[in-house]
């Protein structure tokens, strides 16, 4: 689930992607909040690597 940075609504990636079908920059992966239209980026998988790297052992990450 993605939390909109603007209005706080939570939505699934599929719902956000469906709002972007008319954009020619088709592969940008941005998702648009279905409530307010604000664009949010799904986090890249490589971010987890950094999260793990900087999270002390034994402590869970946000993911």
């Amino acid at each position: 689930m993605i939390r909109c940075s603007f209005c706080g609504m939570q939505y699934s990636e599929e719902q956000g992607v469906s709002a972007c079908s008319s954009c020619p920059v088709a592969s940008c992966k941005m998702t648009r909040c279905p409530n307010c239209g604000f664009e949010n980026l799904p986090e890249p998988s490589s971010l987890n690597f950094f999260r793990k790297l900087f999270t002390p052992k034994g402590k869970k990450t946000d993911q």
Partner: protein, 677 residues
């Protein structure tokens, strides 16, 4: 209370359910296995699932809601020897669904009609959570309001009067802490002995709406899965599901209902949806205020005060100017586009990377065309790579970082709220802040966002203003960096751009026919930004830039190289020269405008590259024209797709003419009045 293999077994004696709604709920449904079933509802992240696990133990089954792909968790528990089914419904924000998940939650309530609804809210955000609780209460379902996360609320110095809250909402209220199980017994007691103190309306609306509700209520038959008043409210808010219900049960009433809605709308003189949401939120605000007390807590009071300052125009506008000054001017412009670019472009690329690659390519091949492709004036390395990495990346990188901080604080929705009044003068509403802010990132994608504007008039005006006067972050950062040594130039540039934005918007709102926009927005809490969030968002955006935008720079270099090779590029530049000369700019600046049509940031990088060649006055003119200049190719394509060919071509020609007219006008004023910058 003890936990058995069947879940939680309660030793309460079952009592006769009293005080329940007489007509508004059914018994069970074909989809559930027992006659008693409970729906768990609430917004996401309120502890709903934790409560579900507490009630069911580990006996959970996940299946899609019939006819949809939305998963619903189902479990069971035993209470006073009776088996209860319980469904953890998807998170929902209101009875007017936007997402499929919300629609499923609503359908489950109305089609399957639970015996009880455990509506979970976050005690810390009662004001934001109450509207849905009040709407649910009005449906006539047996709702129990579970005020969860009481421990967190208490830590923040909040005290909630549950009895008073129950009187105000008309439904039983149970304070809980799902993590520890506190309050669980209270919920089960209410399930066994449900009583509601008030089954009358709890949300008062203004007269025009009330008349509409009464008119529709009189038309509706019995037998709907929700109370007539609640259904009438949904119809007045133009809820498709409500209309479907009526179309199915009383198709003959549809026309009269539409007429009543039109009359109510005319009487109100405003969007009924807007008026009703406003009334619901005012009532939620009042109830929250009367049932919640807060201990003296300086930190929280400070954030509330700051929130008010941000939304009050007298203080909000200076605050906005401070944000622009610190974020765009000092951080993105002076630090990002100045210090960082000087180092990366001047030192790293200028002294090491470009000379190194140039030497390597010269040694590698003697074919001139290949050399030109890689290290020529418009080469992949000397132009594409240098522009993308050495000039634009530091600018957008600093912008992404600053923007992530702003985003994480909750300032943007407050900006929408504050700017709503000004935007209404130019035919827009606070909702248009979203595409305008997003335009600072990429105007192309912001143009797609204009479809979220309420009326087609708003959509056209927002598209026009995005194409005309909203520079992307790279453009803005480069312009700030170029004009930073000349404060007068910066003021002239800002004055011309803001003036054009307001004047064109005002005239467009007068010329383009349509309804006045209405805007309602729920403000999320103001908070201190979390560094982990900020870094994650910045990293995510930089990865996006490298993956999606960087290749476009390389493609643009390739295209320009091809045009150069075929002689088309010099031909285009030759034809642009009279236009730029007319604005007092040298021939070489025609390149900048041509680049700008490929990508706005590409043009900005081109202008940065020739800063030594231009005087302060010429820089000012070039910056103004480049900002107002026609949208890039991708944005133009979106304009065609979103607004149609006629509107897109109209906007393109208007913006082109206005941008060059402004350049010529500035040049005329500078030379006629001998203005030196």
């Amino acid at each position: 209370m003890k936990i058995s293999s069947m879940g939680i077994e309660q030793e309460y004696k079952q009592k006769q359910c009293k005080g329940a709604s007489a007509s508004c709920h059914g018994v069970g449904s074909p989809d559930v296995t027992s006659e008693r079933w409970i729906a768990l509802t609430g917004q996401p992240n309120v502890g709903k699932s934790l409560l579900f696990n507490r009630l069911t133990g580990s006996r959970v089954a996940v299946s899609n809601y019939p006819g949809t792909t939305v998963a619903v968790e189902k479990g069971q528990f035993t209470l006073a020897r009776d088996k209860y089914d319980i469904w953890d419904l998807p998170g929902m924000y209101s009875l007017l669904p936007i997402t499929e998940e919300e629609r499923v939650a609503k359908m489950a309530l109305f089609r399957n009609r639970p015996s009880f609804v455990l509506h979970v809210v976050d005690a810390r955000n009662l004001k934001r959570m109450l509207p849905l609780a009040m709407e649910l209460s009005e449906t006539g379902l047996k709702v129990i309001l579970v005020v969860n996360m009481m421990d967190e609320a208490e830590k923040e110095g909040l005290e909630i009067d549950s009895e008073q809250l129950s009187r105000e909402t008309g439904i039983p209220v149970v304070p809980t802490v799902a993590v520890t199980g506190r309050g669980l017994n209270g919920i089960l007691k209410h399930v066994l002995n449900y009583r509601r103190s008030n089954h009358h309306r709890v949300i008062p609306f203004e007269e025009s709406v009330e008349r509409g509700i009464s008119g529709i209520e009189e038309l509706l038959d019995d037998g709907y899965p929700l109370c007539k008043r609640s259904l009438a409210q949904l119809l007045l808010q133009d809820d498709k599901d409500a209309f479907n219900m009526v179309a199915h049960s009383q198709p003959e009433a549809n026309g009269t209902i539409r007429r009543i809605i039109d009359e109510a709308s005319t009487r109100a003189g405003e969007s009924l949806l807007y008026l009703m949401r406003l009334s619901i939120h005012h009532e939620a605000d009042r109830i929250s205020h009367e049932t919640t007390t807060r201990e003296e807590n300086h930190k929280i009071q400070w954030s509330e005060k700051l929130s008010r300052l941000m939304t009050w125009p007298v203080t909000g506008v200076p605050l906005l100017l401070v944000v622009i000054y610190l974020v765009f001017y000092k951080f993105v412009g002076v630090f990002g586009a100045g210090t960082l670019v000087d180092f990366i472009e001047g030192q790293l690329f200028g002294q090491y990377i470009n000379p190194g690659i140039s030497g390597f390519v010269r040694d590698l091949t003697g074919v001139e065309a290949i050399r030109e492709l890689i290290i020529g004036n418009y080469g992949l390395v000397t132009l594409g790579l240098t522009y993308a990495i050495a000039i634009i990346l530091p600018v957008v990188g600093t912008f992404f970082f600053a923007f992530s901080i702003i985003e994480d604080t909750g300032y943007l929705p407050r900006l929408s709220f504050m700017i709503d009044r000004v935007f209404k003068k130019i035919g827009l509403s606070g909702r248009a802040v979203i595409p305008m802010v997003l335009g600072l990132g990429c105007d192309t994608m912001a143009t797609v966002t204009t479809r979220t504007q309420e009326t087609s008039r708003e959509r056209v005006i927002a598209t026009l203003l995005l194409a005309l006067a909203i520079p992307c972050s790279a453009q803005l950062g480069v312009i700030f960096a170029l004009l930073a040594p000349f404060p007068k130039a910066l003021l002239i540039w800002a004055g011309v751009i803001i003036g054009n934005f307001l004047l064109v918007g005002y005239l467009a709102s007068r010329i383009i026919p349509g309804h006045k926009p209405a805007f309602f927005m729920e403000l999320p809490p103001l908070r201190l930004p979390k560094i982990s969030n900020v870094l994650a968002k910045t990293y995510t955006r930089i990865v996006w830039y490298l993956k999606e935008v960087f290749p476009l720079f390389i493609i643009a270099s390739l295209v320009i190289w091809l045009l150069q090779l075929t002689g088309v590029f010099p031909f285009i530049l030759k034809n642009l020269e009279p236009l730029v000369n007319g604005m007092g700019l040298p021939d070489a600046t025609s390149e900048v405008f041509f680049f700008g049509f490929f990508r706005r940031d590409y043009g900005a990088a081109g202008l940065y590259d020739m800063k030594e060649m231009l005087s302060a006055g010429q820089l000012t003119i070039a910056a103004v024209v480049l900002t107002l200049f026609v949208p890039c190719i991708a944005q133009l394509m979106v304009m065609f797709k979103e607004r149609g060919a006629k509107t897109a071509v109209g906007i393109f020609l208007f913006v082109l003419a206005l941008a060059f007219s402004m350049g010529w006008l500035l040049h005329y004023i500078f030379t006629t009045f001998n203005i030196m910058i």
